[in-house]
Amino acid sequence: MKKLTLIGAALLGIAALLTACKDSGASSNGALAYSAAEKVYVSPGEHDEFYAFISGGFSGQLSVYGLPSGRLFKVIPVFSQDAEKAWGYNEETKPMLNTSHGFIPWDDSHHPDISQTNGELDGRFVFINGNNTPRIAKVDLSVFETTEIIEIPNSAGNHSSAFVTENTEYVVAGTRFSVPVPQRDMPINEYKGNFKGSLSFISVDPEDGGMDLAFQVLMPGFDYDLAHPGRGASHGWMFFSTYNSEEASTLMEVNSSQNDKDFIAAVNWKKAEEYIAEGKFTAMPTNYAHNVYDEETHTATSTMKKEVRVLDASELPGLVYLLPTPKSPHGCDVDPTGEYIVGNGKLSADLTVHSFSKMIDAIENEKFDGDAYGIPILKFEDVLGGTVKQAGLGPLHTEFDAEGNGYTTFFISSEVVKWKVGTWEVIDRQPCYYSVGHGMIPGGNSRKPFGKYFVAMNKITKDRYLPTGPEVTQSAQLYDISGEKMQLLLDFPTVGEPHYAAGIDASLVKERSKKIFSLSENKHKYATTSDADVRIERNGKEVHIYMTMIRSHFNPDNIEGIKVGDKVYFHVTNLEQDYDVPHGVSMIGANTSELLIMPGQTETFVWEPKQVGVWPFYCTDFCSALHQEMQGYVRVSPANSDIPLSWSLGE
């Protein structure tokens, strides 16, 4: 009996303990959830602390989010047409999408990078690469618009791009696919030794940000995957990860994964500058488009360039060294001090970290392990700085905080792992939902990371949100990294694949953000800056309407004398000079998008009327209390009609 009582008491005790555990578990979960919510909550009317520029991958665009809230502010059209903003539809921006292959309305936008001064983010520009038809775009952060796109010749799959050097001397653009250079008709199976890779260095004018393809380094026919600049002591070097050092051209998933080690290519671009100055380059004939949008004419122009300066890495000593790096490295990341270069061997469980000072020592003492097409291969053991052992499966990309920690994404094991630079010990790991690709810490690619948050950009979402059919939302996740342990704070949906990102303290950008375009500085060829200049001109079948818009009417709003078969250009100027008063315009039957015109701006769409009648146009952006009244009519007469051109407002 006594025994039974004892057992009973013990059971009760265990039950009590279990209940207590359960309770404390629940309450601590509750407290955790509450603190996560508080950490991402930005009160109505308040601003986020950081801008996050997250590329849209196959959407071809660049989206702007706030951190920590994860709120989406804007999708900046870059490489893809955007009917909402008339990007690539209006006459002004069509030239931005011109290439040597003609007008291309889409691309695959991958790696945004923010301009730097002295190794720190300066918030002037974001550069981003178009992967498919090789291009580099520049987004001006005073207007959050794409203002320049340069096509990259001799490149294919412009992937190891668009990373900037410490003072934005260059934006680099490395080819993923090696190709015949120059392009020619040849058998694919003669790839090995004949195909070449090109690494392009695009100079950026320190004053106006103007881009120029300064030179290309011609490399062996590997695949060049990602890149990062040296900084501090390693400033002057650019590091590119490679795979397919096997030079395979078919069944790549197997054939390019055979070598135990591929390379990180260290390019000495200061040396390249010397060779250029000495004239050791080949001026190769080529053809590529350089498209520039002018803020004062509100118009883009496309110029075809015909020549590129090429430096052959096999011929020019000291230009490139190869650092053996295990298992098809993807990310190639440089820590804030510039000493360590991380090779994220994506088919490996380890992270290989090279040491810059050891690399220089190995070069000076010629510790070579043979060469590849004349390019010295440094001895692996002599450049190895350390290894983060068994950190996870499938490392892709490493970012850094300001406290000497690295944060590596692991695609296969779907997690982010925090480790200590120098000791190489793993400190913490947190799961990602699911299959994280790249990660981002604001300022993570600079001498001075802002830290605080880590954004994981996931490749797979599955059940994380309400389902939307077979195609579910794309998603990123936000982690608090201010403590020893990382804490998952937020899932937030993104536009397009959240491929890669760059983040910056909002205070470095928002003060410079323009409110309006000054009407007095509008130099558009067809601008109408006062109602006195409103007119319509006919030149054969071409008709130019010089139209204005202001709350809440178009001038003119009654137009007669247009004929079937005419090509009618609506050049519409928004006369507003008030913050956030854009107007839109669209015409029934126009084979194009609406226009969304900012205060002080002029844009143009073309309408080719095909049917006789009286056809309305109207304002598409709810501009004012009288927005619904902001409309007009165009009378379209038969082609042989002799009704003269006339226009009016309020008559």
């Binding site: 709350r551 000079q577 008030d578 209390a625 009288l626």
Partner: protein
């Protein structure tokens, strides 16, 4: 050696010249959708924007209720500067040659002229707020059925539809006021100086 009162009178006469440097008045319009309020400075010879394009944007707002555009120029922009220059010259002449009784006359004259100016300003505001376009897009009536006016206050703050209007003098007006006050002070001190003189003589 000039007497203190004469020096003060000279200062009194010069102070209103600051009207050519600083604005006389400011009207500010606040509304929820204008986190930066719209504002207009009234100078002695000009209207100007508090922030770029404010007057244009005030006009755009006001056209909905049929108010006239704020004019580029009004006759007052010629009359007021002339008045200030003339009274300043007059004041300086008085400071140089006149006696303290003239100081009083000058100060009183300035009070009268300023009042006339304010009254003129009120009339302009009244006309601006009440002489509305009969084809106005939005028409409002007061509870008693009369047409609602949109006159900004002469001095103070007032709710006008979705806007809160503020109207207050600025540094130019304060300079004028101070000039007048110093004029009276010059009179008071001049009078004391005269009495002291008489005492010493007796």
């Amino acid at each position: 050696m000039k007497k203190r009162s004469h020096i003060l009178m000279g200062i009194a006469a010069l102070l209103p010249l600051l009207l050519f440097v600083f604005p006389l008045w400011k009207i500010t319009l606040e509304a929820p959708q204008y986190p930066t309020p719209l504002g207009m400075y009234i100078h002695i010879n000009d209207f100007s924007d508090a922030n770029p394009h404010d007057i244009k944007n005030i006009n755009l707002m006001n056209h909905y209720v049929g108010m006239k555009y704020i004019p580029e120029a009004i006759p007052e922009f010629k009359i007021f500067p002339a008045g200030i220059i003339i009274t300043t010259i007059l004041g300086l002449l008085i400071a140089w040659k006149g006696n303290y009784k003239w100081f009083l006359s000058w100060a009183v004259l300035m009070v009268l002229l300023s009042s006339a100016g304010l009254y003129d300003f009120y009339l302009w505001e009244h006309d601006y707020g009440h002489d509305l376009d009969p084809k106005a897009i939005l028409k409002f009536t007061n509870p008693d059925g009369s047409i609602m006016g949109f006159q900004p206050p002469l001095f103070g703050s007032k709710d006008i539809l979705n806007f809160k209007a503020h109207s207050y003098p600025r540094l130019g007006a304060y300079s004028l006021g101070l000039g007048i006050a110093v004029g009276f002070l010059a009179y008071y001190i001049g009078k004391k100086e005269k009495m002291n003189e008489l005492k010493e003589m007796s």
